[in-house]
Homo-oligomer: 415 residues x 4
């Protein structure tokens, strides 16, 4: 989920849109509430960003694409911020090097908050006279900010995980204990099906056009793979048996000394946004890479579903149900969830263009298409995905070794 | 084309098979004829192998999987060679590290030739009493050796290209000059088509099962992109315009200072197996990466074909026609060729499993499936592919930055 | 100046010692006053440390070696801090990896200040009953803390220099303009001289024993090389003429694209602790590596002095005079200084053991000797050296490519 | 021993000089006799060179500095070779990248031999009319070629050591068994002594000028450290006790997983130029780095001698006695040797300029001085040093982690 744009606007009233905008903006602010300026400044590794950067970059998005371009007479809060907080929009000029984002103690968290307030006020003033194009950009900006809310949480988890003091982002009570739901396989649809986003409603460019694909006989798991099943995989030597792994995956396991999901720690515990906790064996496993998901599936005598199989399976499910983000708190995958929520699910499909794909126009139209190499598609939503953000056609994507997101898997098999 | 096996045997008479076997073995020997022991020892970079290694590894294949396993009483020529010349068959035990293959001045080229003769004699003796399983392995070994003939040529080209003296592998006369064929776009088939290898005849495991896919309206170029067209791309700033490139591709271009196909040199020349020559503008461009092919297509207002589009397009073509390898000489892409030969063609498809894919059994069944991440499919054949080796369902694959193979492209577009 | 210990105690009254201790501790606190929690958390590169770390590590030193070992019943403020803030004392157990020091937003700057207060109070309580050994350790701790005050300043300069906003640590008025002092060469002493620290008074172990060396006829410059002279070196192509450079230095210049002192910026400016300022051509050049100093000397037809030449030259100078650190502020090299202060001076001598050198005993006796390879000696003091810390026998040392310290040079020549 | 030149000529008759020249040239040829073209082409790692390169580079030296510059009308054997076989003489123009030396199968070993013959004939013709300057250059070229004879042997050892077949360069009979000589310590001279080369006779520039140094009371070991003593160091945990190591050395041991001298192999054997053999416990240890030598000395309660102590100790010894290179064969350190021969000895001294040092003029005067950073001095001679090449004032030098030379140590201590 490195890139974004390209979309079509929802048909909502301006008042609805304003409401959604400012509610979304508030959630981002709330996410930062428990953090110190120092917490918000650290970049745990080059592909992640400081919390403060997420607050600033989402603000830069509205200031640049909405206020600068559509509010006559608007002057930027600080001209120097465009250089610091552009992410990768080449058309928007030079920008600060990504691996150096953790070097910025200034502007402070409070200064970034002041910038947010300044931009929010200007957006509020601008609302009555917004052009349809600006309305589309606000819709896009809301979705963009939702993506960064998820990254905010996964990046702050990565940041706190680096600290030997194991600080909690939010405290949570000890969870109740659940039994693991039995796993069954449901037959999927066979023959020609349609996938991708329909023309109406908001979607990113890469989800379109909706198009036909041919599905072969298959079955798909009733639930995600659990931590308990993953522990069996480990106990059975899963990480030391080369026969289970893709060649690249095996190189990665050996080079990085991988032997468990990213945040698993000693004695049956894992590090979470609520600090170190006992691993819940009934909950879906998270923080595994594509390589691990693929090896697990082979070990289980199964495979990962393709994107089309998954989307066909999920089409009738309600994407607003499930363990997703409603407000700022310590999110965690939990037992018993449905199709959307808890963890994203790796598919066996590479992230490539749909037939007839055309990127959106202009700088905001950069760059979903830019990332169409070396990445795999993930479907669904996670506990860190803002409720309302996802849908069956949603295409999340990450490189096969990435695992700092809430990434898990569901099994499939030929039939 | 790092891996191989898994197949079904051709139904040929033993005499035919023996004839094909020893003809194939002889071509490999002939390929080494112009090389010194030192030429054959150098490894130009870790993903390529010394010429001597190819001679030895193909011999190891027959000694191990046919003679050791199917000729009672056979004793290995030298027990230590199994360690040195296994490539990546984990089931066959420890092996010499790939990046160290250029450290082996011993065994000498002549010793490897003696090993080949020893194994060929034993194969000849074994022929009358071969089991059906061994016959299948010989068929597989022939195809395996053909793959290494192509790698032999691309690796020796890479080796000689490292030498500032610019030595020729074989001398060739100056070629005649051809006009560039005009480019037209043919409408492709739409709707459900079948791709993949049928059950009869030899094919690698990854080509099966044959299965249905849905094709969307599209058109496909009548010929490959030429050197002349590539020169226009360069002249138009193709390598310096980030908007044309995938994000990973743009990083690669900048990190590696890429500005032309791999072997292009100053003043309109390129390095070839026949030494340095003037670039033939009517010939298909070769030695470009997936990133370059994709950027070129975007610049041309087109895209790469998908694997299924290409295979459907090529299905009625005769794969035994075209500029392919018949004997040891300096091969070059040439103007005016058809669908097979001259250069492999990058497709927009990732190299992933077909629905219902199952790897072949046992050590020879390693490892087409092992490489199903991070690679793109190439279709067709090149001037270095032994005639008779390829077919429409053939799935060659390489990582997106690879360009030491004879790799080019053909354009496609939605319609 | 990576390591420390091994010493002999000054003969002062306990009251004097306490006074010096708490004054020193206060200066460190004052140095942190202008910093935010975030400023104090950033580690600009692996060899530098966050400001907060310096505050914590110097506190750990007293808590561990004085309070834990010499104050019966003392219990640590937080047991987990020993792991986080030990630097490299192997005898003191495992410690947090150096390149990860910038990952610690907790403990916060205020928590570290609270720890300091706790330890200072305990030290105050402990004073009346201190053993002679503990007195020695307090003397050592003062010197240790002074070293970290200098590193605090050079590391915060490196941190702020990473920020495109170019923030100032302290504001300073625009300086007056001075003429450059003329350069003359003074004949040095010839024959046997003594160098190294005498037995009385505090000194680090590596400064001892005082011993005889033989000096050859030479002359030494009356002042340091200035920014103006360095600008002439650049204008004369100093950074592009391989003949001026050591082989390793030339590799470094090309690999790192070095073309000026570390903090020089466009249009005659440099980044300083007071923000970006015009370069003062009469001030001594700072932030140059050994490689650069050596190349400059060769360009100037001179050489660097040896450690013994420098020490003999400086022996009668008063080390308490000059531009050194008296209180928390933005320090800068200035024109017109004497032998001590402004910048450390690279010598041509490797940092190796003196004849008869013996490391101090125990964990505090780690590790001056540990660093006796790959480093060059620097003599004198800089504008960031706490006044009173240095002396003619002082041996500062850094690897030849280091330049984030205030490092300059003085020329010498054979005569 | 990366660089060379700068010298004063021996006063010998032209006939003597010619005799020495052609005898030296013949030894180099003889060293290549047992090698195949492929053996001579491999570069085992970037700091070592192929055998063929040594044959070519020493020939380039005479062709360039003697024949081109001093034989009117001489034309180069092949103009392209100057680019390929210049080592690092910047004044002689561009050159082939050092890490790419193993990419050159052409020219072949036989072509290089033909070049040698061509140059030797021209040198023979030139002899009667040589200018004094050319005579000096021939003297220099002889010494240069002797240095490369030693490197030829150490580099071919490194090459063959890479081959799992463990080929021998020359076969040698199993050695007789010797008892270890007891170790005693001899008091060294104290006070002012002179070291460095006198004005007469050949020496490299870095050995001059002869100058006075002050020696402190010390004693020096009667013999080198043996393999048997090294085995005790290992058995006592020498490689796993951080307290014994310099900080850089400890990092190196851990990063490179060092646990024995370079060529020690399983079960009490080591790889040598005569293949794998049992380790001779009475012979001096070889192929240890400065870091290892320093750690061993600390473990033994001693230290390494300084360069001046060693040179003073060796001054009355005859450098032409001992286990040194007389002809092409498999050389090995042996028990019972004297001061020169068997292994070079690491000293505690950095390789830096002597007081009054001035590099030789012109391109041949490049580059002893160029290497005066990051290296330590080694004294004596090894079993691979051509007899007659070394002397007490000789300054060999290598970086502290290098160990592919025949490098050992002798202990010293303060007294």
């Amino acid at each position: 989920m490195n890139g974004l744009p390209a979309f079509r606007s929802e048909t909502h009233s301006p008042a609805d849109l304003a409401d959604r905008l400012f509610k979304t903006r508030k959630v981002t602010l709330d996410l930062a509430a428990p953090l110190s300026d120092a917490d918000a400044t650290i970049q745990p590794f080059p592909d992640a960003s400081p919390a403060k950067w997420h607050l600033a970059h989402t603000t830069w998005f509205f200031e640049t694409f909405v206020l600068r371009d559509h509010l006559p007479g608007y002057s930027a809060f600080d001209d120097r911020f465009a250089f610091l907080f552009n992410s990768y929009y080449e058309a928007e000029g030079e920008r600060h090097a990504r691996p150096k984002r953790g070097m910025l103690s200034r502007p402070s968290l409070d200064e970034v908050r002041a910038w947010r307030a300044h931009v929010d006020e200007a957006l509020d003033r601008a609302f009555p006279a917004l052009s349809p194009e600006a309305v589309e950009l606000i819709e896009l900006g809301i979705n963009h900010e939702q993506q960064h809310q998820e990254l905010f949480l996964t990046d702050i988890l990565a940041t706190l995980a680096e600290n030997p003091l194991e600080p909690a982002y939010f405290e949570l009570p000890t969870p109740a204990c659940f039994a693991t739901e039995p796993l069954t396989f449901h037959p999927g649809r066979t023959g020609i099906v349609e996938i991708g986003a329909r023309d109406d409603g908001f979607a990113f460019d890469c989800e379109r056009p909706r198009h036909r694909v041919f599905l072969h006989p298959h079955a798909i798991g009733s639930r995600r793979v659990t931590n308990g099943e993953w522990a069996e995989f480990i106990a059975d030597g899963g990480y030391t048996n080369s026969a289970l792994w893709l060649s690249e995956g095996w190189d990665w396991v050996q080079r990085e000394s991988i032997s468990a999901p990213l945040y698993w720690r000693a004695e049956g515990t894992e590090f979470t946004l609520a600090g170190r906790r006992e691993i819940d064996h009934a909950a879906p496993v998270a923080h595994v890479s594509y390589y691990e998901a693929d090896a697990f599936a082979r070990w289980a005598g199964a495979r990962l579903p393709t994107e089309a199989e998954w989307e066909s399976f999920a089409e009738s499910a309600d994407p607003s149900i499930g363990n997703q983000l409603d407000q700022a708190t310590a999110v965690l995958p939990k037992p018993g969830g449905g199709i959307f929520g808890d963890t994203w699910e790796w598919t066996g499909s590479a992230y490539l263009a749909y037939p007839g794909f055309a990127p959106a126009e202009g700088a905001v139209g950069e760059y979903n298409g830019k990332f169409m190499s070396g990445q795999h598609v993930l479907k669904g939503a996670s506990c860190a995905t803002p409720r309302g953000h996802s849908r069956a056609s949603y295409r999340n994507f990450f490189p096969p070794a990435a695992r700092w997101q809430f990434t898990g898997l569901r099994l499939a098999r030929d039939s």
